[in-house]
Symmetry: C2
DNA sequence: TATTGATATTGGTACGGACAAATCATCGAA
DNA sequence: TTCGATGATTTGTCCGTACCAATATCAATA
């Protein structure tokens, strides 16, 4: 493997720059199963410490690009097989990655008393006012999902969000970034109302995703229930074994 | 926070032992939002290097137990809100964690030609012989899921696996451990045959999980399709934002 | 009182070294 | 040829040090 000896750092830490450089070289010059240069070779080649090399490789391993074998080396993983784990995305980005154009039709946008289960998830008192946003989500103009979001009040200053835009983006503009979320995925048959909105036959199978979003401080700020059309949507995820 | 000064190491690395010790003390003596001792305090208290302390804390952070704030400290996260990510488990263990007793009824167990899509997932030639294992999975005696597994031949020496036992356990006994898997989750309506086996009405919504299991070397050895009853099963997962 | 600015504290990055554990290549013996 | 021992190689763990970046604290100032 050819080793470039200069790292481009645009404000990011050195190990991130090194990881990017390695990822690029893996894409361009290495095949699946090929070994990377040894850590000490990389250390010498890039003129960095082994600690930095190991951090960079750990980053690639976490992304599923490579895997380590103690005593042997570090090897390029199969990108077709090792899919990336589920990333936290909004609907728009999710659709974009599937090559679909996302749009939405707002069904409801107002302050309403919080139901019990949502209140528990958000850590607020039952019946206290939360922002309700109900939207029909379209992909390439055709109905894809029915989304009911409840957010803590005051996240958008005093006003309401723009129902047409990406919630995630608007939250970020107000200094609130959802860094992690917990989801429960179930299957359900559509009711008549839901089926009509989604342009599906009554009783059709739908994927129901209940999501609670947290900031990096662990504060729950958003609870969303989404009904995806079973015939159009699949949820991809990667799981790993417990360290044991 | 009280700091114990002795670490119990049962073969595991020091940072793992420290992480366990910290997790225990967090459970017993700290509340949500409380700050951990500073890294330098822990370093002195346990008599280890700061590197070891940081590794231990990184482990806890990855598990969602704590979170870091640069310049401020490390704080205890809310365990009720931050659920653990999905772990790679077999059906038996999955049910056990839900407090249900798993059993199974074998519907089919033989060698058969591999269909095209599975062949691609497993990286073998289409039509080559793979081990087919079809089982009805029961939880507390009631049908829960319909599982169709295809495995590379020869994983169990020359014979077939015991259809009643845990596949995962039997694989491990033959030196094959599935370390990661990629899954696609969809919703579907049950056919008449499937519905009958699962004791559900025809057309009931079911959660379909297509899983491909890989060894730590990235080799695919198992492809499983599982139909879970929509009224009994939910899939829980945690997602995180991309590092960006 | 409110704001600013200096200073200390805390986690984040980076360097260096040493040894352990797993693996691999080699060589010798059976 | 086959098997096993041996030593070299490679990743994993652990230690120590130094400095950077973000945050918190508090005194000085307007």
């Amino acid at each position: 493997m050819e080793i470039s000896r200069e790292l481009v750092r645009t404000g990011s830490p050195k190990y991130v720059a090194l990881a990017n450089a390695l990822a690029e070289q893996i894409r361009t010059t290495l095949a699946i199963g090929d070994p990377l240069p040894t850590e000490r070779e990389l250390q010498a080649g890039f003129g960095v410490s082994r600690d930095t090399v190991r951090r960079a490789i750990a980053r690639l391993a976490a992304a599923g690009l490579v895997f380590n074998v103690q005593g042997s080396g570090t090897y390029v993983a199969d990108p077709a097989q090792i899919r990336k784990g589920p990333r936290l995305t909004g609907f728009s980005q999710d659709m974009a990655e599937r090559g679909l154009r996302a749009s939405s039709r707002t069904l409801d946008c107002r302050i309403e008393p919080c139901p019990a289960d949502t209140a528990r998830a958000l850590g607020v008192a039952e019946g206290s006012g939360v922002l309700l946003l109900r939207r029909l989500r379209l992909a390439d103009q055709a109905p894809m999902a029915l989304e009911t979001a409840r957010l803590l009040p005051g996240l958008f200053g005093d006003g309401l969000p723009d129902p047409e835009g990406s919630l995630d983006t608007q939250l970020a503009e107000h200094g609130q970034r959802i860094m992690r979320a917990s989801q429960t995925i179930t299957a359900t048959n559509l009711t008549a109302t839901e089926a009509h909105l989604l342009d599906q036959p009554v009783g059709a199978a739908a994927l129901r995703v209940d999501r609670v979003g947290f900031t990096d401080r662990g504060r729950a700020i958003e609870a969303t229930e989404t009904l995806y059309r079973g015939d159009r949507y699949g949820y991809e995820t990667a799981v790993e074994r417990d360290p044991s």
